[in-house]
């Protein structure tokens, strides 16, 4: 069973992602910020991490950098959730080591398709 970690400070966002992913058969865990995410990621092995950028405590960019320094997550797919018109954010994510991005608001089908491509 594929396990995905969804990170976003907005609860509704997390719920929507979880709902979409679980309906497609992925097991999903949630985290509300980078600190919680890092903690969970180290405790359990996730096949994929999706994270928002703007979060309290620890933002997405920092989270990605920290994840990349963990041996288990060096080559794992990590995706950022970004809004459409921000190529800078996309680039920032990439430079931090993100695999790619998903644009929000997201179409559930597109989300699933993108994830399938990455797994």
């Amino acid at each position: 069973m594929t396990r995905i970690l969804a990170v976003d400070d907005s609860e509704s966002m997390r719920k929507m992602v979880t709902f979409t992913l679980e309906r497609a058969g992925f097991e999903t865990e949630e985290a509300a910020d980078g600190v919680e995410a890092l903690d969970k990621a180290q405790k359990e092995n996730f096949d994929l991490v999706i994270t928002d950028i703007n979060m309290p405590e620890m933002d997405g960019i920092t989270l990605i950098r920290r994840l990349r320094s963990l041996p288990d997550y060096r080559f794992r797919p990590i995706l950022t959730l970004t809004t459409e018109g921000s190529p800078e954010k996309k680039r920032e994510g990439r430079e931090a080591g993100a695999t790619g991005w998903i644009v929000k608001p997201f179409d559930p089908d597109v989300l699933i398709q993108t994830i399938r491509k990455v797994l």
Binding site: P77, T99, G100, R116
Partner: protein, 720 residues
Amino acid sequence: MSMDLSEFYEVFFEECYEGLEVMEQGLLNLDVGDADVEAVNTIFRAAHSIKGGSATFDFNHIASFTHVMETLLDQMRSGERRVTVAAVDLLLESVDCLREMIDATRAEEPIDQARVDDLQQRLQAMLAQGDDGEAPDAPAPAAEPALERHGFRIRFVPNEDLLQSGNDPYRLLRELGRLGDMKVRCDLSRVPPLDKLDPTRSYLGWDIELEGDVEEEEIHELFAWVEGDCELVITPLSEAEGAPVAHTAPDTTPDTAQPEAPAEAPPAAAAPSEAEAGTGQGAAEAGDGQARAAAAARPADKPRAPAAAKKPAKAKGKGGESSSIRVAIEKIDTLINLVGELVITQSMLGQFAEDFDMSQIEQLRDGLSQLSRNSRELQETAMQIRMLPISSAFNRFPRMIRDLSAKLGKKVELRITGENTELDKTVLEKITDPLVHLVRNSLDHGLETPEERRKVGKPETGVLELKAYHEGGNIVIEVVDDGAGLNTEKIKAKALEKGLIGPDDKLTEEEINNLIFQPGFSTADKVSDVSGRGVGMDVVRRNINDLGGQVYVTSERGKGSTLTIRLPLTLAIIDGQLVKVGSEVYVIPLLSIDESLQVNPDNINRYKGTLDLYKLREEYIPIINLPEMFDIEPNAKRLADGLLVVVQSERRRVGLFVDELLGQQQVVIKSLEKNFRKLQGFSGATILGDGTVSLIIDVPGLVRQHLQGASTPDPRTLAA
């Protein structure tokens, strides 16, 4: 790949079947010559959808087969190729093959690879032929024609640290392969010797040829995440390039016969490993930078048998039976409204339960009759939900008639009316085979050849009509032809020969004609492979009877024949007449009952010492003594003290002798086979209001049994 897509499979398959129907109808209606662009486009789009969907679900054998069909259709819609009869025929055959592939895939069974390959080759051959129909020069059948190829050449060389971002060239190539036909060649020039090789870095590059209906935009989108981290050069494929010998049929298992260096990718296509090991590892395992990998990787490919095994075990019925149904939303809305009203009635009645006294009896009665109304409406609406238009059964006939009439050398015009008439889904599914047989029969034996028709002054093209309409609680389906009609003399002779009738039996012409439904009956001189083996008509009748329906034929020599099928609108609930036989209660389906009457002893006649007949107006009707048949002690000791319920089936009437008539009510049919076992003479059982079980009498079965070959006797032969 751990994603479970099985819940989406069934929807996909249904969409495929719909698409196939669109394609078939479209092809049948296509005019030869310059293509009607819109018409071809519709067919093309259906094929394109099927291709796209099957690729998404990794049914690559379906995708690649459809792709070849799509290519041919594309040429037609762009005007590059005219519509020819040969092309349409080939595409129709391919639609059949595709349908079989989908059936097999859905049932998780192996596909007929030989057929697929054959058709694929023929499609390729047609593609190779120019529009003017000239055969290609190349001798080898699988030779690649010098076609203009649509697609792109892509050079993809990831930067060494691409893997650090969690991206994986293997996945990218896999996705690229979904866009079209792909040939990949791996560039190993940068791979360092083993002792200097870092498995976390990427040293490979790829030269890819991607052929198909692909936009450059799509390719860029695919590489969007890595465009900054690699060398990516995309150029359109040039025109009329000498194609390499390897075939483009991507369905063929990739083999090592390709002269060029096969593509490199993680060795086990079936086990995409974590990105960590990645491509670097794969290269190392291939050894010393040698270009021969064990299998040219087609990352999106899956061998067929394992693919079948990989799919989750979801046993589905073969053929057209599925366990889902599309329903018009209005029907659901009506249902929901009625349920609402039922709830209101129920709560109203519930109040009486609180404290009730006899002064409220009228209101209680009102409430109960309201309840009865609600139930009835609800039940009718629920039954409607299971109903589908008969068009899905009729839709196969244009194609069938086209093929059959060609085979038989006859000219036929098919007219369909009432295709929107609705009937229960299960009945619909089961009526299709009998219908096919009847139509085949009409075509084979009913309609004459053009010469024969000309001789008798008929137009060369015969007419076959399929009609459907509602009548009473039934749906009536007619198969009408304007052919030669039944040869009553021949039938009578055959029946005599087979001992189905005696030489003294007097039958009406209609009765003789309907003998064709007797087992073993066939007057065909030789058995054509279309029909005429003599096992058909009686099976058709039995199947229709099993559905609670009837079938009979009416015919006029020289003018034509009409086969009439009458089916109940629902299998599950019927209106029944309760009758008392001794101490037992039975149910007779109301639709079968013509009339009920008190027995007048003067009208009883004994025929040949064994059969009792009742003279009803001008007719003599055999009496079936139910108490005797069921071995029950009747209350009426003599026939004269009881009642006769006259029932009919297939235009033959018998009288059922019972003690008395009880009420009429709707009766829910419970299957005997499921709960007990099949019983001769009964078509099911039901539970009455008082909880007792009541058996439902199988009228067609009884009629068939008692009138096996026997005619209604001629009154003149009776003793006075």
